[in-house]
Amino acid sequence: MLKITNLQARVAGGKQILNGVNLEVRPGEVHAIMGPNGSGKSTLAHVLAGREGYEIIGGTVEYQGQDLLALAPEERARAGVFLAFQYPVEIPGVSNMFFLRTALNEIRRHRGEEEVDAMDFMALVKKKLKIVDIDEALLKRPVNAGFSGGEKKRNEIFQLAVLEPTLAILDETDSGLDIDALRTVAWGVNAMRSPKRAIVMVTHYQRLLEYIVPDRVHVLAGGRILRSGGKDLALHLEEQGYKWVKDETAGVR
């Protein structure tokens, strides 16, 4: 589904952050990308989503057979790429419901499906509410405006549930969550696991992986994947910290 080959990227006119990332994700798989601060995890997530401000200086990203990097961010989203933001953005005055229905209809139109009207959308929302245990009142409020940190993260997973992407990238979804909120969010993500959907989680801590058990774990440091393995690799990291990674990176250089 997703094949990243030797991806190199830098901040526009600035520092190079990705130094040749290779990664392959198949449908149904859950991958965790772990790494210390500044290793390029979030950059990778945003480069895949198409955020401006990065320059691709080498490599390719193939998504469902197409050149992902050639698509505008909204085209990637319509093709089924979803990014759960680490810091979800507030849009005052625009209701969550309206925002999400607009998004869903853009995606449906792209797929050649009929748009959903407000009534049908409401019914869909009621069904999805159960997945993330989110307060219905939140949906009528403006997008993320005045939401607590936990509410924002839940709202991201709620959007994930409604939009049903093919590839979901979760950027530090666990950061800033207490243990109960983390459980709820993880439960929502697990409910979204499916043989047709791939999930890529970017995280600093192993904690999240206790609740969402990945098929593959990758360690990203210095802008490349240093090591890949099964879920045990995460435990290894937890015990040893990232120091060994840094040592190895230094060795590589």
């Binding site: 989503a49 198409g50 955020r51 401006e52 505008a72 961010p73 909204e74 990637r76 989203a77 319509r78 979803f82 990014l83 933001f85 979800p88 953005v89 507030e90 849009i91 005052p92 005055g93 625009v94 925002f99 999400l100 607009t102 998004a103 869903l104 853009e106 995606i107 792209h110 403006p142 959007q159 939009l163």
Partner: protein, 481 residues
Amino acid sequence: MSSAREIEHFAQAEYKYGWTADLETDSAPCGLNEDTIRFISRKKDEPAWLLEWRLRAFRHWLTMKEPTWAKVHYPKIDYQAISYYSAPRSTAGKPRSLDEVDPKLLEEYAKLGIPLREQEQLTGVAVDAVMDSVSVATTFKQKLSDLGIIFCSFSEAVREHPDLVRKYLGSVVPYTDNFFATLNCAVFSDGSFVYVPKGVRCPMELSTYFRINASNTGQFERTLIVADAGAYVSYLEGCTAPMRDENQLHAAVVELVAHDDARVKYSTVQNWYPGDENGKGGIYNFVTKRGKCAGVNSHISWTQVETGSAITWKYPSCILLGDNSVGEFYSVALTNHRMQADTGTKMIHLGKNTRSTIVSKGIAAGHGQNSYRGLVRITKGAEHARNYSRCDSLLIGDRCGAHTFPYIENQNPTARVEHEASTSKIGEDQIYYCQQRGISAEDAVSMIVNGFCREVLAELPMEFAVEAQKLLGLKLEGSVG
């Protein structure tokens, strides 16, 4: 596409109404003197008192100076190079019903999206359409007159209801008021007149569409709306003009009067031609709008969505004379390209327990300059007066400007005045967030702007709100890269 470039591209929205109708017009030669005024008055068959009033205004105008305090810049206007009267020739015989109106004129209005006939039948909005200087047709007249409501062109009101016109004309905006209003008093051409009698609630929205068509023409409408005791009326005003390279002057005056327990709601969606992206052409819009809450418990509410004009100079105001009267001002002003807007309101509290609310949303894109200028004055006798003001500005791109000039004058210690202001920028992160959910950058900007304006748009009657929303999106097309 980079967001900065996208912001650029978005600002390139085209003006949709930029066609000129090929209609024969009957115009006054350019220039302004007492003869011009006599010519206009004669054309309109006016009584002597009205000509006298016009001439008094003109003589006073000669002693006045054009104001320079607003934060707008434009080349000096040559008042002698303007034609002060232009009528599509076919209305010379004064049509009595739509059937007698030149089909070309009706076609023209249909292009504007106001098919008079359909509007008459379908939407139940009574429309008075003013092209250049002459009121073309007023729909639904009979139904209204059964209720005793007068809704007609200003000229007709002068002929048919001279006592009412004489009683109220200049009673809110006197002919000495300000440079542009005084000019209007001297040369005003036509406009709408509304009178709602005691205790009557006007059952439909009343609407006027203004269009400037002929070149080198100034348009000087005069609108007068009177709600007698206990009456209610909601009035909508829409405006368009064709694209022309030269600037066209528009100086209207609107007067509202609300007696005891009466309520007047006045909504505007202004879409005059704003000039091209380099600031060539466009309408100079110098308008005086004022309402007088004359009676106790009276209520006047202004809602405006200003999306056009090269220059907007406009301060719809309320004089809160009656005890417990309420004044409201809800405004969205959008400036793109080289547009300049200096707009706001004045709330003059005279009566006891008077209340006013001001909500202003300024949006600046391109090289647009957007200023809010407002005055809240609480006079000595205005016991327990209250005002709440909020002025928010939204910037799109980094070459536009937003400015706020709030003035508060309080002479009564029992008054309560609150003022809040904010300035924000449409963030690239907001646009990116929407894009990541499948929404294009243009739609994202439109969505963010409409969200920003939500409180004001909510004040508009339904169909008008939809139109305003679309217009805001359209006006910003291309301003986000």
